[in-house]
Symmetry: C3
Subunit: 310 residues, 3 copies
Amino acid sequence: MRHDHLITSKQLSRADIETVLDRAAEIDADPSAVADRHANTLLGLLFFEPSTRTKMSFETAMKRLGGDVVDMGSIESSSVKKGETLADTVRVIEGYADALVLRHPRQGAATMASEFVDVPLLNAGDGAGHHPTQTMLDLYTIRENAGLDDLTIGIMGDLKYGRTVHSLAHALTNFDARQHFISPESLQLPREVVYDLHQSDDGPGIREHETLEEVLPSLDVLYVTRIQRERFPDESEYQKVAGEYQIDLETLEAAADDLTVMHPLPRVDEIAPEIDDTAHAAYFDQAHNGVPVRMALLDLLLADGGDLDE
Amino acid sequence: MRHDHLITSKQLSRADIETVLDRAAEIDADPSAVADRHANTLLGLLFFEPSTRTKMSFETAMKRLGGDVVDMGSIESSSVKKGETLADTVRVIEGYADALVLRHPRQGAATMASEFVDVPLLNAGDGAGHHPTQTMLDLYTIRENAGLDDLTIGIMGDLKYGRTVHSLAHALTNFDARQHFISPESLQLPREVVYDLHQSDDGPGIREHETLEEVLPSLDVLYVTRIQRERFPDESEYQKVAGEYQIDLETLEAAADDLTVMHPLPRVDEIAPEIDDTAHAAYFDQAHNGVPVRMALLDLLLADGGDLDE
Amino acid sequence: MRHDHLITSKQLSRADIETVLDRAAEIDADPSAVADRHANTLLGLLFFEPSTRTKMSFETAMKRLGGDVVDMGSIESSSVKKGETLADTVRVIEGYADALVLRHPRQGAATMASEFVDVPLLNAGDGAGHHPTQTMLDLYTIRENAGLDDLTIGIMGDLKYGRTVHSLAHALTNFDARQHFISPESLQLPREVVYDLHQSDDGPGIREHETLEEVLPSLDVLYVTRIQRERFPDESEYQKVAGEYQIDLETLEAAADDLTVMHPLPRVDEIAPEIDDTAHAAYFDQAHNGVPVRMALLDLLLADGGDLDE
């Protein structure tokens, strides 16, 4: 299977994913080997909504490969304000760059945009749609810390609105992973996501929980997400719910010694800072893993033919 | 003739223009030949008003020559807000860069600024003044598609406020070009521009029209510009006028098969998307041509002595 | 003495300062010798408040050493808005970069941040705290123009709120410098700064004045700072005071022929433009000196072991 664009992690088979993760691991082990590999390559950055972290990570990845970026900047100062369509914008910026990264608030924007350009386009998040590079760096982090075979993972927090979570959960159905979803009832996985996961899964399956206690001891990985204040009608309701899904050293007493704690960051109060210095904490490594993973994806898409499984 | 700065296309003779266009064509044919030509060169970007497209194109051009940019960023966060004069700002930033690109809302700003700096300064638009790199990329696109000899061009839309149009029309008086200007009466070329064109022209001359029909069959190139809503007292007036200066496949039935359609972009409704996939459409190429043309200009100005006709 | 971070110029001994200034002078004399010295190096820019000039200078310095930058951008679009702590932000961005530059409105921010990262961190100003690279470029400019031995310097303007001034004054106590402070009574040096200077000084000492006249003839260097309108209750009060601390050609008739005039820029009315073309004016050179000085600091901190006095 060949890919010219990266729109969703769903387009990737288990073999494709392993190709990317293997390449990322090679790069991570010896970044200097690729430091000039894509010299004279320009990556066009089209961020139609702010996402500093993702943008910096892509920019770093391209520069660590010897290339550079050209950035459309904020849409406030762009032609978009004059009524230009997304199709026109990507066709113009395609002329400046050898590949494009698109972030857009509208679901489906990346697919649509990819139809208008000849250079590889990478989706950096399209509304409630997909964010495949986040999923790949999550998978990479899980593989580095706990392995993707015979994995037991807990995914906790806001499971209703979390695009990251849906995408990761789907990708994990390709592997031998037991998935536990832990959230307040009001922030459970949407029913269609649960249905979709059950359909896709050929592994040990998924289960839903309201408390962490019942599954914590069995977990290899605990993936924590932020519960957003604005999801709740009032502050006291938020405080009550959010407090139950925060973890600290005391919480982790019931966990396995080699439990890996992940978080897509930024965090607010979900993980107590006292965990940062323990061997459990993998969330800063996880953020840093965005660089080798995006380097691998860019390297594979920019290679002759733009083929993710060369 | 020597130029240390590029302030207006009026400073360029026909021979100068051809030097630039020839160099751009060479670069376009083999960009890799110049990929490291200006390594270690920094271009300072001073955009006192937003112009993402022009800025990206300059940035791409400098990077495609092996160099890099330093960007003053938006004036909201700059020393300009503290009351610094333009003369002081350019003198400080001159210390960071090997050449400067200036965009400024005030007519004459580029000339004034150029008097304070020793490095080459390129005008990227100064209010109702000049925008010579836009004119050069327009000329380049015309030459590539229809040639600049024995040319019949129609320029349509907002001819009153369009700086791009005045500058292009003036530059075309250097060539054997018949120019037709098509616009509603309220958006005709200013009388002083018409006078100036008649004075400069030694070719077949210029004519003004209110409808496209009467000239369309004779045209080699149709250059369409955007009619801005805000020029009209009310929406219905705008709709009536704008509608008459929009083109679609049906409009083009009366045109020559090899008519080239150009537009400085962004477009709104002036050119129907159904034209995009026809051989007429040159507007995306036109935008992309900004890169080799700006590479040529930078290359010539950065060469020893900063001489546009080396 | 070794330094992994650059937080304040107070951490630098006279020998350290001279190491930096010597390295800057070497670089200034032959920038091409270091043009690729830090190829493949990325400098992370974290500006929690706008400071275009300082940011451009750091960016230029890194690029003149062959490296590149990754910029967090404005905090409006960053994770900071989602409630992320400074400690988390620096730990994430540390993963993208080989060194960090931090500007933050809160005093002490640089020290705190430096405790969380393993890469060198350079303080680019932390509130009313320190701004060591500004001090170093001021010292470099003084040394180039008047020498740091047997120096008589006047520092004039807003001495109360000027972080730049306090830091420079302190650094000068390492040298054989006679310091005269000239300001309206309401903008005198804070008493604790005066006390601190007297404690540190082993040279010919400091004195305070209300008018320039009494010391001007004796000065080697006159360092002028901006008096900010907003420090005064009303406009007329400001005009009266500010006017007394502005200089023009007439003022300088009483000065030595080789007086060097400095200003951290931007200036408003403190120095008349007619001085710009005289041999007195060193303020644009001073701004430009930020580049070799920051190149020297980056070079020393990025060298194996990150040692400012290698």
